[in-house]
C-alpha cells in the first residue's frame, strides 16, 4: 500500500505542477488531441460504415445467379429458375428485374427495380427514393415523374409514395416500378430476368449448392452474400487503413514535436527538477513524476480527441472525411450513422496514440531527471 500512497502523492504533485504551466500544457494537449481526433474520426467512421453495410446485407438474398456473356453480365433466361430450384436445399428462387436509368434532366443515375409482390406499385405508378424527389424538385404532393429514354420520348409515372429518409442509404436513388411497366420501359422480353435470387436454408451448404449449380449452369456466375460482405469489409478496411496511415504521419510529426518540447526544458522547469533533487527526490521519483505528467497529457488529449471525433462522426456526419470514405455520386443520400464504438477500437486508438508519444518523451525525460541538481540549477 506504500507504493500506492507514493504514486498518489506523485500524481497530486504532478497535477499541481501542470497547472502552474497552464498555457504550455494546454497547447500540448490541444495539438495532441487534434491528432487523436483525426485518427479516431477515421476509425469511427469506417466502423460505422461497416456496421451499416452489414445491416444492409441482412436483407440481401443468400445467393445471386447472373448470366455471363462475353465476360459481362447479360439477361438470364427464366428457364433456369426450375434448374436452380431442383437443387436440394435451395428455396424461394425468383427472377429479379432491375437496371439503371440515366436521367438527363438531373444528370444522375437511378436504380430501377421491380420489387417483390408485397411492395409492387400498381401499373403506371412508381415509388421513389427521397434523393430522386430532391434531384427532380418534386416537392408538391401528386407531382408526376416524367422519364425520357431518348429525344422525343416521354413516359409519365405517378408517384405513389416517396421513401422516408431513414432508409436513405439504400433507397436514395431507388425507383420501384411495376413489372409490366419495367418490361415495357426497358424492352425486356417476357421470359428474361436481370438475375436470379435464391435462399439456401443452411448457411453451411452454400458452397456445396454453388458447386452443384455451377455444374448445371456453366455460363453463370454465382455471388453469395458472404462474398459481398467480404468485399465490403475489405473495401472499408482498406479505406480506413489509408486514412489511418495518413493520420499516422501527423502522429509522427506530433511525436517529434513532443520530443522536442520535452527535451527543451525551460529554465523554470530545470530549476524545479534541481530543487526536487536537492531536497531528496531521486531520479526514479522524477521520472515517475514526469511519466505521470505524460500520462495526464495523453489521457486528457485522448478523452478530448475521442469525444470530439464521436461528435464529429455521429452527430455532424463526418463532414471532413465523408468524401474520402463514402465515395461520391450525384445523388448522395443524407444519412445519419448509427453510433457504435467498441472497446477494441478504443484500445487500438489508445495504443496508436499514446505509445509513440510515450516513446518519444521518455529519453528527454530521463535526461532531465538524471542530471545533477547543481548542474541544472546553475
Amino acid at each position: 500500500m506504500n507504493a500506492l500512497r507514493r504514486q498518489r502523492a506523485l500524481a497530486d504533485y504532478t497535477i499541481a505542477a501542470l497547472s502552474r504551466r497552464k498555457v504550455k500544457n494546454l497547447a500540448l494537449v490541444a495539438v495532441f488531441s487534434l491528432v487523436v481526433f483525426l485518427l479516431a474520426s477515421a476509425m469511427f467512421f469506417a466502423s460505422a460504415l461497416r456496421q451499416e453495410a452489414d445491416a444492409a446485407l441482412e436483407g440481401a438474398p443468400d445467393l445471386i445467379v447472373q448470366q455471363l456473356s462475353l465476360g459481362r453480365q447479360a439477361m438470364i433466361s427464366a428457364d433456369l429458375i426450375d434448374d436452380l430450384a431442383s437443387i436440394r436445399g435451395v428455396r424461394d428462387v425468383r427472377g429479379r428485374l432491375w437496371g439503371y436509368y440515366y436521367d438527363r434532366v438531373s444528370g444522375a443515375n437511378y436504380t430501377v427495380m421491380v420489387p417483390e409482390a408485397g411492395q409492387m406499385p400498381p401499373p403506371g405508378q412508381v415509388i421513389i427514393g427521397e434523393g430522386i424527389a430532391r434531384a427532380r424538385g418534386l416537392e408538391w404532393q401528386g407531382a408526376p415523374l416524367f422519364l425520357s429514354r431518348k429525344q422525343g420520348d416521354l413516359n409519365r409515372f405517378d408517384v405513389a409514395q416517396t421513401f422516408e429518409s431513414d432508409s436513405a442509404l439504400l433507397t436514395a436513388d431507388l425507383l420501384l416500378m411495376n413489372a409490366a411497366d419495367f418490361r415495357a420501359f426497358f424492352s425486356v422480353p417476357e421470359d428474361m430476368f436481370t438475375d436470379l435470387a435464391a435462399s439456401v436454408r443452411n448457411p453451411r451448404e452454400r458452397a456445396t449448392v454453388v458447386d452443384k449449380a455451377s455444374r448445371a449452369m456453366p455460363d453463370a456466375r454465382f455471388v453469395t452474400r458472404d462474398d459481398i460482405a467480404r468485399t465490403y469489409m475489405k473495401l472499408f478496411d482498406w479505406r480506413e487503413g489509408m486514412m489511418v496511415a495518413l493520420a499516422a504521419v501527423a502522429m509522427l510529426a506530433f511525436a517529434i514535436f513532443a520530443a522536442d518540447k520535452a527535451s527543451g526544458l525551460s529554465a523554470e522547469e530545470a530549476r524545479e527538477i534541481g530543487i526536487l533533487k536537492a531536497i531528496g527526490w531521486d531520479t526514479r521519483d522524477v521520472i515517475a513524476m514526469k511519466l505521470w505528467e505524460g500520462g495526464f497529457v495523453s489521457l486528457g488529449a485522448f478523452l478530448l480527441g475521442t469525444t470530439a471525433a464521436y461528435a464529429h462522426v455521429f452527430w455532424a456526419g463526418a463532414p471532413l472525411f465523408a468524401p474520402v470514405l463514402k465515395g461520391w455520386a450525384v445523388i448522395y443520400p443524407a444519412f445519419r450513422l448509427a453510433p457504435g464504438v467498441d472497446l477494441s477500437e478504443l484500445v487500438v486508438l489508445l495504443l496508436l496514440t499514446t505509445l509513440p508519444y510515450a516513446a518519444a518523451t521518455v529519453v528527454p525525460v530521463w535526461r532531465a531527471a538524471s542530471a545533477d541538481p547543481d548542474a541544472v540549477m546553475r
Binding site: M43, A46, A207, D226, A229, R230, M233, K234, D237, W238, E240, G241, M242, V244, A245, A248, T283, R284, I287, L291, S344, V347, V348, L351, L352, L355, P356, A358, A359, V362, V363, W366, A369, S370
Partner: protein, 332 residues
Amino acid sequence: MIFRTPILTLLLVSFLALLVALGAAWFGQRLVRHWDLASGSRAQLEMERRTELVSTLFAMVMLAEAVALFLFVFNADRMAALFVGAMCAVGTLNVNGYGFPALYAKIAVFFAAAVWLIVDHVDRLGRDYPLTRVKYALILGIAPLVILAGGLELAYYLNLRTDVITSCCSKLFTPANEGIGNEMAGLAPGLSLWALALAELVVLGLGAYAVRTGRGHALFALAGAVFFAVALTAMVSVISLYVYENPNHHCPFCILQREYFYIGYAFYVPLFGATALALGLGATAPFQRRASLEAVLPPVARRFTLWAMAGFATYGAVTLLVIARSHLILFG
C-alpha cells in the same frame, strides 16, 4: 497484406518493442559483464544512471506487448469474416503457416514480459539494485523472443491472402485427427474435469501455504504453470462443450465471440494474469534472502500471491458457472 488499423497498430507495437529490446539487450550485455556496485568509476555511475532509462522503456513496451496479445487474438477473431471457411480466430490463424507460431510466440513474450515486470518491480523495492544483474540477464533472453515474435507476426500479416480457403475450428479440434489440439479434445471429459479440480485445489493450497508462511513461492509457481496447462486442456476437452451446448465443438477460440457473451475473456484474462503472477513470484523466490529485500519483498509477494490465487479461483468459478447454466448434460 490487409490494410487494417488493428494490424497496423500491432505492427507498430512490435516494431517499438523490437527497437527497445535490441537497445536494452546491447546495454544488458555490457551491464552483465561490467556491473560492479562497489566501484565508483565513471562507467559504473553512467551505467546506474542509464538503467533507469532502459528499465522504464523496456517496462513500457512489455506492458504494450501484454495488451497486444489480447488485441492479436481479438483481431484474428474479427477478421474471420474475410476468409472463406474461417468462423473464428482459428480459421484466420490457419490461413498461413505463420499464424499459430506467431500466437505461441506472443504468448511466450507475454509471460516473459510479465516475469520481467515483476522482477523489475521487486528490484525497485530495494535501494541497492539487488536484482539488476538478473534483470538484464533476463532481457538478454527475452530480446530474441521479441524479435522472433515480431518476425513471425510480420510474416503472418504479409502473407495473409483472402483467396485462401482455410479450415475452421471444428476441423482442427476433433479427436479424429492427429496433433496436440486433437489429443486435448479427445481426453475424456470426466477425467479432465477431475484433473482441473485437483489442480485448482493444489494451486490454492500451495498459495495459502505461501501466504501464511512466506515460503514456497517456487512451488506455487510450478503449480500455477501446471494449472495453466490443465486449464487449457479442460477448456478444449470439456468446458467448451458446455459453453456451446454441443458435445462435438471443442474450439477454445469461439468462446471469445459475441454469441457467447465474450465469456472467453472471463476465462482467459484471470488465467493468464494469475499464471503470469505465479511465474513472476517463482522468478523472485530465490532472492527473498537478499539483505535489501528481506523486509520489503514478503508483503509484496503476499499481495501478488493473493491476486494470483484470486485469478485461479476465478477460472474455477467461471467454469462452475458455465456448467451450472448450460443446458448440455454430459454426465448421468
